[in-house]
Symmetry: D2
Subunit: 401 residues, 4 copies
């Protein structure tokens, strides 16, 4: 029942799904349970309370949908908007593209603000659109916090500032799939109305939970939002929250226990330490890329993503060949270039439950692959650059001091 076995561990460096810590695997290694017994509601209550911390919200209301990020998107949109509503959406890569596509198919009037792939959202355009929109026809700003395809992180604090500047009432909807629990994210402080993530990203769980968090304003919006929704309807959840049974349909028992374990691990490490670790691993990765003489797909430092790095390959190399070779020779899983950047970039995911030596093993592998495919890299150069930085900046493991 295992396909394509290879000796040793798989080195999983796609930007999701990511490595699951053993503690979480253990927590999920269990039989089903009656989700209507007192146990599951009791646990769900703690989960709903605790999951707010990863959104940095106290006023938000979280929903743990048995779905993926795509479903979480749909939930965010259909609960707050009506067909025909105007949204401003930023197209900067494959995942923002897919979300925009979804918005269109859900019959919103999508005002697409496009940037080159490798650039962040064009917030100047946003400002001018808001300035013009004195009639408040814009109902929502939809933005991907971290574009996984290009390794670009958008500045959400600035989005909020612009909205405030124009005192614009548009909802602020954020895809935090590859950011929340890894990058600095502040739902309340930034006035985000709906934020969402998926369990298989920085939470380091299997796929299967689309975690959506709604501000009071977003909950208010559901009352007038006419988009058709059933499975993704927040109101069905809210009804059961009130009763105290929490679930309108059967949740995955295993994922609930897994989420409990994942949150416990994150809180033990400290969310700020988790974020600092992501910053550190990302910086090390970029130093390696630089040492190899390659370019980051992300065009400006202000957009550098701390969860994924998209590396541009020389024109004479097909980046898919790099990914293929990683899998075939080194048991290393790297991210493909998608759509516009297919063949041009490969991606190193450095998010979730990951440490420095795992990353250095990956970087050593990338070096060998680069050589394999005909790029004359100096073997060890990236590892040297990365480890010089890490050896200076890594803390001791707190539980072991």
């Amino acid at each position: 029942m295992d396909y394509f076995n290879a000796p040793g561990r798989n080195h999983l460096f796609v930007p999701g799904p990511v490595n699951i810590p053993e503690q979480v695997l253990r927590a999920m290694n269990r039989n089903n349970e009656d989700y209507r017994s007192p146990a599951i509601p009791a646990m769900t209550k703690t989960l709903l309370e605790d999951v707010k911390q990863i959104f940095k919200t106290t006023s938000g209301t979280p929903f743990l949908f048995p779905t993926t990020g795509t479903g979480a998107w749909e939930s965010a949109l259909t609960n707050t908007l009506s067909p025909g509503d105007r949204t401003v959406s930023f197209l900067i890569g494959q995942f923002s593209l897919l979300w925009i596509d979804q918005q269109k198919r859900l019959n919103f009037n999508v005002d697409v603000v496009e940037s080159d792939w490798g650039q962040g959202a064009n917030l100047e355009v946003l400002a001018s659109k808001l300035a013009e929109d004195t009639a408040h026809t814009i109902k929502a700003i939809c933005i991907v916090h971290n574009e996984t395809a290009t390794g670009v992180t958008n500045n959400l604090a600035t989005v909020r500032k612009i909205l405030d500047h124009y005192q614009h009432p548009a909802l602020f909807l954020v895809d935090g799939v590859s950011s929340i629990c890894a990058l600095d994210f502040r739902m309340d402080e930034w006035g985000v109305d709906v934020a969402l993530t998926g369990s298989q990203k920085a939470l380091s769980l299997p796929t299967g939970l689309g975690i959506v968090c709604a501000s009071p304003k977003a909950l208010e919006a559901t009352k007038t939002a006419k988009s058709v929704r059933v499975f993704f309807d927040w109101n069905d959840y809210l009804k059961f929250y009130k009763i105290g049974t929490y679930w309108p349909y059967t949740p995955s028992i295993q994922l609930l226990y897994g989420l409990r374990a994942a949150l416990d691990l994150i809180f033990e490490e400290g969310l700020d330490n988790v974020i600092a670790r992501h910053t550190r691993l990302a910086k090390a990765t970029r130093l390696a890329v630089e040492a190899w003489g390659l370019k980051n797909c992300t065009q400006k430092e202000e957009w550098f993503s701390d969860t994924v790095t998209a590396v541009v390959v020389p024109p004479y190399i097909d980046s898919s060949e790099i990914v293929r070779r990683g899998w075939k020779r080194y048991n290393l899983s790297l991210g493909l270039g998608l759509n516009k950047v297919a063949g041009k970039v490969f991606r190193i995911g450095h998010l979730g439950n990951l440490n420095e030596l795992q990353l250095l093993g990956c970087l050593a592998g990338v070096e060998m692959i680069l050589k394999d495919v005909g790029y004359s890299v100096q073997l060890g150069s990236g590892v040297a650059a990365a480890s010089a930085y890490l050896q200076n900046s890594m803390p001791m493991i707190p539980s072991r001091i």
Copy 2:
């Protein structure tokens, strides 16, 4: 991280989620993987091929949605119908009620055919409606094969006969959540257009896969179906089936391996033997209920369900107390009475990976609970009736002969 521990095994007899066999737990005990590597598509291909067998279809196209049964319903409806379309739907219990509610919220024109809870779908009414509908305004017949709330199994072969008799082109949509892989179900023979189930039922997996199977006619219907859909859209899947990567978004790696193991177990036992085992356990349960002097909620033998038995309690007893006591004293999980039959029935789920002695342990537990709550049952009477039947009818375990 474990709540409400109790010595020994939990006796899980709710009609889902059900017991997961150890082989499946083992198969799912694994790290994440890159779902874009060659391994996952190769496995998905076998799953899509093999899962057809549990639907008894060769012409159907299966979809493995990361969702629950509720999501699978939504997928079945939105891919084949347009807002305003007339459906004929049978209200016979809580789950058919919920599906009808969904149909209404999805803006179909639902023609509800109601029966008393405990009765099957009124197919005479269906016949008369079809007879009248020479204009073919009825676009779909929506029917729950097995109503989990009342333990009623509808006769799908008759539905097909009626449709054929009137040469009516309506789509035939079937909720097989608590039937498929446990009851006799024949998608092709009965001309079912969409059938669906959930992983946590007879497949004995965790919750998280909504398995939907579409006939060629159903696939054809998607071309004109105007219901809004994105996450649940079959066409996104079909696009990736063609490419051979299979997944429009990230699947649960663990559930795929789990499904592989579950199917392997079912095929090893033989699907017909699996169904015969369900028939046997159900018959034994009904004999016990009879011996206790209690009534089956299901009003006629033709509707008796082989996956769940709803037992009517005397009016002076609150059936919720039975369920509560099972959990608090016997580590036994029984199904609550829902909605109209709340307090009046409790349910014994006997589906999935289960054997005779497990059931007899449950029945012994129910006897003690009945005595606890003041019903003067003869202890051992139900077990005696059930085991007299089982001892006569059980086969030897094939692998051990």
Copy 3:
């Protein structure tokens, strides 16, 4: 990789190895670790401290040998005795026989006190031997607390009384393999010098830990004990206890974490509650046997074992056929009759992490098997007798009240 699959759970009622609770399986589901890191010694320290509680000792010194019960025996004997030393040993069944055989092979001068199989140790003979032994030639009394082959529990308090009466300095060595953590056992109060058990019995772990506990007097005895020993030598452990690294050779990381989880579960339930549960399940089993019209192999009530019941079958039935049939038809694992009682008894193990409904499922199975093999049992009769008692005597589950 799974042999002889059968639907549903295996009903494991051999008197060891017994069912492992999910919490323990989860705890052991882990990679290896460096046993010389600070983590393993830190955990070992808590284990050594906590394991004393299951022996009811504060003065004893425990050893966690990577071995089985047979190895634990060898450790008990070779660390305290010298070749030629006279031991008094009670032969009452297969396991006492094997221990006596070991004592002989280790060159002790074994003074065997034999009883019929089904009787307890003849303590009158012990008294007379001690009375005569004014020269103190008897160096040790070796007694099996609970003879697993016949379901006989010896009275250790009486042994101590006799030793005290004659002020005899012999060491008091106890095989507690199928008793400790299930039956009332009091190392300090009863002045036991070496007690031992195996992980796969009442602790409900996999096989692999032979847990031996030595009194101060036993430790003193090691100084003059001339039996050859290396692997089983306590002194190698004591040396590393002093250093704080604890292990003279590599332990099983998984079993240590498993033991931690097993002890946590036992302490959560309360050791006295665990023992009361064993008393209850055993009583229920004996009532069933009585209801079937069969005889307990144990000849007097004072010796009835609360961890295993050996049931005598009528002479026209081969008890092995009962065991074979349990496995082939009911997925039920019962204990064979061994040696002198082979073919004459079968055994029901009711020890470890087990609850009432599990036992009733087993009893229902035994009834059907008895009928299968031609014994005209009234189906349901044993279950009725057992559940009448249980329904009266079972407590609510404390964590769920």
Copy 4:
């Protein structure tokens, strides 16, 4: 229940216990079973047959003792020798020292041939001893194939040649704990009489199986071997082999299934490929050590071990500090220097289920640690040297080509 958590995977590079592959963890994730049912003997039979392949023997008889390497030693000695028997034993490091200590405590007349730690066994002395021993007073040659403390591999083929040259009948007993299944080992070709290994080494299982393989000559020797033995007695096993139940006492069900999975993985990779992988990883490690300007504890290339490298640190550095720092800062577990080389060497274990990128991650970690502790290593230098070699010599993963 988890102590000293740290983000990401632990990098386990002690020379045992080693990383367990997920396939093996999965296989062991199971409840206990009756070891007297037909299933366990059936599986044991395949294990005993298949395990011979890792010894490269067809005539040997294997035993799967529930014990550690120390117990396996004791089994090898006590089954073949009598107290007072003369053995020739080579002291070249901590593990050969411990085995010699065991031989002395078992009352053999041990003729110790000592070498400097870092050197191999002095086979010239062996030759001269055999030459002189025309009376055949030497009953056994005891040699550690791979001394784990110093990373020294002895030449067993030469031992055999010398024995043959003098036509000396001494038994040839080999500790293959850190060699078998990783280094070239040929029981039959080299005329080894007893070879042994432990499950937690190259087999990549948890600790708990001491696997001993006996030649026909060794089995013959048991008939006259007077050493006291019970738990470790081969004859008890042979008795049950004949009966077909295989086990004189309870085995670990989990380890048997684990061994089945481990062997399946090894055979799938191919034992010769496994060995080649060890050779490759070891060579890479030595190149890194050289690049760092450090010395291998092993004094000549002919003795270089392909499973563990002991690295000599400069006199101003305490090697224990390196190990401590690995654990505290990098989640890297390295081997301590033991006894004579304590503080002077640290050890990198590179055996078992391990791949190239895992090793490179470790080497990158060692570089940072070296810098931490004040050794002015060029970061990346070792990784560069190792990966230059690996990139040239690594094969594609066969299952993925």
